[in-house]
Symmetry: C2
Subunit: 590 residues, 2 copies
Amino acid sequence: MFYTTPLADMRFVLEEVAGFGEIAQLPGYEAASPDLVEAILGEAGKLAETMLAPLNQPADRTGSILENGVVRTPQGFREAYGRYVEGGWNGLAFEPEYGGQGLPLALATPVAEMWNSACMSFALCPLLNAGAVELLQAHGSTEQKQLYLGKLVSGEWTGTMNLTESQAGSDLGALRSRAVPAGDHYRITGQKIFITYGDHDLAPNIVHMVLARTPDAPAGSRGISLFLVPKFLPDGEGAPGPRNEVRTLSLEHKLGIHASPTCVLSYEDAIGWRIGEENRGLECMFTMMNNARLNVGVQGLAIAERAYQQACEFARVRVQGHPIGAAPGAEALPIIHHPDVRRMLLWMRAAIEAMRALAYYAAALIDRARRDPDAKKRDEAQRRAELLIPVIKAWCTDLAVAVASTGIQVHGGMGYVEETGAAQHLRDARIGPIYEGTNGIQANDLVGRKLSRDHGAAAGALIEDMQNTVAAMERSRSASLASITGALRDGIAALAAATGYVAEAEATQAAAASVPYLTLLGTVSAGWLMAREAIAAEGRLATNRQDTAFFAAKLVTARFYAEHFLALAPGYVPGITGGGTVLEFDIRQF
Amino acid sequence: MFYTTPLADMRFVLEEVAGFGEIAQLPGYEAASPDLVEAILGEAGKLAETMLAPLNQPADRTGSILENGVVRTPQGFREAYGRYVEGGWNGLAFEPEYGGQGLPLALATPVAEMWNSACMSFALCPLLNAGAVELLQAHGSTEQKQLYLGKLVSGEWTGTMNLTESQAGSDLGALRSRAVPAGDHYRITGQKIFITYGDHDLAPNIVHMVLARTPDAPAGSRGISLFLVPKFLPDGEGAPGPRNEVRTLSLEHKLGIHASPTCVLSYEDAIGWRIGEENRGLECMFTMMNNARLNVGVQGLAIAERAYQQACEFARVRVQGHPIGAAPGAEALPIIHHPDVRRMLLWMRAAIEAMRALAYYAAALIDRARRDPDAKKRDEAQRRAELLIPVIKAWCTDLAVAVASTGIQVHGGMGYVEETGAAQHLRDARIGPIYEGTNGIQANDLVGRKLSRDHGAAAGALIEDMQNTVAAMERSRSASLASITGALRDGIAALAAATGYVAEAEATQAAAASVPYLTLLGTVSAGWLMAREAIAAEGRLATNRQDTAFFAAKLVTARFYAEHFLALAPGYVPGITGGGTVLEFDIRQF
């Protein structure tokens, strides 16, 4: 149950895929010097390994509990959170104006990966807080910012997102919580469910971002406003004052992430302040969705990495049987020597490297979209990031479930026993495809908004870049890249065909095809980045004498990815272009 | 959390895929008249729906518990087991000589599906007992049979399988339990783990089948013998007498199947009797493996069916959002109207129908192998069954995990909350790929034994039958079958190429390719049977005026399977023929 930060892998992806060298040159990111980056990755890794990772399994066992109306997090969480805040980790990528360090998201992303690998249940608290920070930054009044933003950026207080109600999940338009004007503020009444860290004992105050309806609001999604509702009302000096009327009714009993308290919150005439304009609450929410969805994709990557490390460790120490072809009477060996165990581990590893490439690449796109001096490049980066974000959220979380499940399989019977800890990763990973917009919602966003709004132009530009990579690979005539080149070429062709179909398809058919299309886009995009990693690894092998085993392994992993993931790409096409089949099935026959 | 026996689907597969009409004509199966078959399916379904299905979720919550050395099953299990035994359900397919009904396995298989859909944790007790019955039937002495077989066939007593020890899981050759001769019996000493229903309160006696070593046995798997060790030693009249020296040390805390007690058993000079010859214990075990592995595949099918029914029910009642293209102001509708929810449900359904086709087909093969008057046909059926059994065990259990996970996804956030019951199916399903030989072991059996022993002859004969089906489909020029025909043709070509590669590959490479190859064989075999279902459904539609919606749905489901499952078949080939990639990855880099 150890966790070892995969620093070499992270650095490789930052350099070769995310183009961190360029990112650090962008105006505003000059502070991200190589020394600082090394220090940050190293220190964060240490904290993740020594402070958070050991909490993960015990915290799963006890869970967060509700006692006399108060939520208590598992032993060790308070101290860990204190050290996390003291170390200034919460503000890494936030704007310096309110105390953030203003560092690139491409740097904050591997750091977030570390927290989530070490203890996803813990890392959820800052993840939700980040959403609140972004909302306030973008839409808060000057006064709201002065009162709350510094404390949320530092992590002294934490923020939550209150969207869901029992009748309003994916369809927020159905929500009923009310907000009645009362002078300079509002009185909020309603019940919210699935509120992550809706209450806890890590911080002296909690700032809830709450969606609710004002009295004369129109029905549906156009009548929703956003409110800030603190657990304790700040006094004149900004310290937590009187208790507000928000109560925790219960905690959900979930399949996983037991240590993360998922609250049912009841608001009864609670005092709140509107953020942004009336009836524009959902639009406000969109400003934070890109980062939050990227972060959930990173959680998938992170939990997969942890499951992989645990499976490797088990495979190295579990002695069982003889490898095929061993001499009679040979000693039994650890199962890592069995071909199929090696296949499972390499499958997990290839999936993780593909996820990491996609996630860091997208983080760098967001950095470029913010800071590139060239407006056209900013725009291109923004559009590509928006195209890829739902893919990363959904593809990485789906894959994380499969990776965690494979981690159990490596353990055999021991994987099914909770003591081992392998099963926890599957239980924890399973939330990823659900929250922050289900993966079906992501696919609908991809097909219904991201593809249709520009008639596939952003996707077309991405495909063109991929084709350029293939052309360069073909020119290089590298033998070690040959099978990757072929698989990537076929994958891109499949993606291009499917994109054409989906961009032009009737809306219902496109929706029926959306998830397989997202899977295809994720598979091929990651395959493209894995190919770029292979090219880089080949280059390093040609010039370096150091770390040759590391770079050789990158080449083999990329080839494995091409054979086991990319090779499936053409096979997704009939399920996309045959979207009509779904609609032909008479729903009364289900 | 209801369960409705899918009788129409079961009958359709029995008739059109398993060829039940022919099976019922085989000598010895004449009793399986259409009336009796209907009565059995109907009665078993009722019992499953009304007695077992309601136990499933409460039993998961309480689990079986160990108190003062005694295992107590959840509330309701004792009564249910009593009714199960009284109804004569346990002996359905066992030989009449010892009280069985001698009915075809093709009939017992849908019945087993029902028990497992209704409550898999409960159904595990008879599943393990069946293994003990088969061992005794095949290898027990006349005296042993007289004393135990009747009681195990009726289910009055239950049997267990004691194979695993902490250092001996997949590698049974490493087991250390000792058996010292003592007159007409042996004294058994050792510790066994993962013993399903190793103790319980459902029956007055438990008969353990225990693998152990005699004092002078050779090392490894050739020095293992099989022993019968009853919990209570039968007295002169066969009633449970003195307690034997076998104790339950603990129950495992598992991810799922909480109601099934998984015991650590300690034997200390326990009295036991050898079954079969000394040092031939593992060979004895092979006699029961085909049925046990088929049954675990059926569990996969069964749990998938339950997860599917629950997802359908949720999708029918959960109102959320408007279907794409709904008029403004239209009423919100249940999510079953959303295209992507329909895709998920149809994906689950197609997977289930494919699993059911394979499982019932294999059961019928075993019936033919037992009863066909033609020795050549018996032999062919036996070889095909042996080829397909590891595929069914592994492919169905892998797919069941994916189906149960999709079931959670249909529920959205509610799926992650344990109260809903959707998560339990994933937790329960996850054991399937592990026990009764991990799926990696199945794949090794497929490639290392079943393919290599006849140089792919049985696989070749299966492929030929598939090609004949495609040829007939091509001749029919049916428009509604066209896309299925194409996908099946390509899938068979991929399977043929991969089979050629694997049958000739060096052993380590074949092992590295074995799981992807198994997936390919499962996908295409089931695709072939789905195509036969489509042909049958088309035929029925041409002649029937009844149930046209049912048959039309079968056609659409088969097409969906072709587009979403079969279409992936060619994409598995590079992962198989590139088996060497796994072996090139330096294991120190994991």
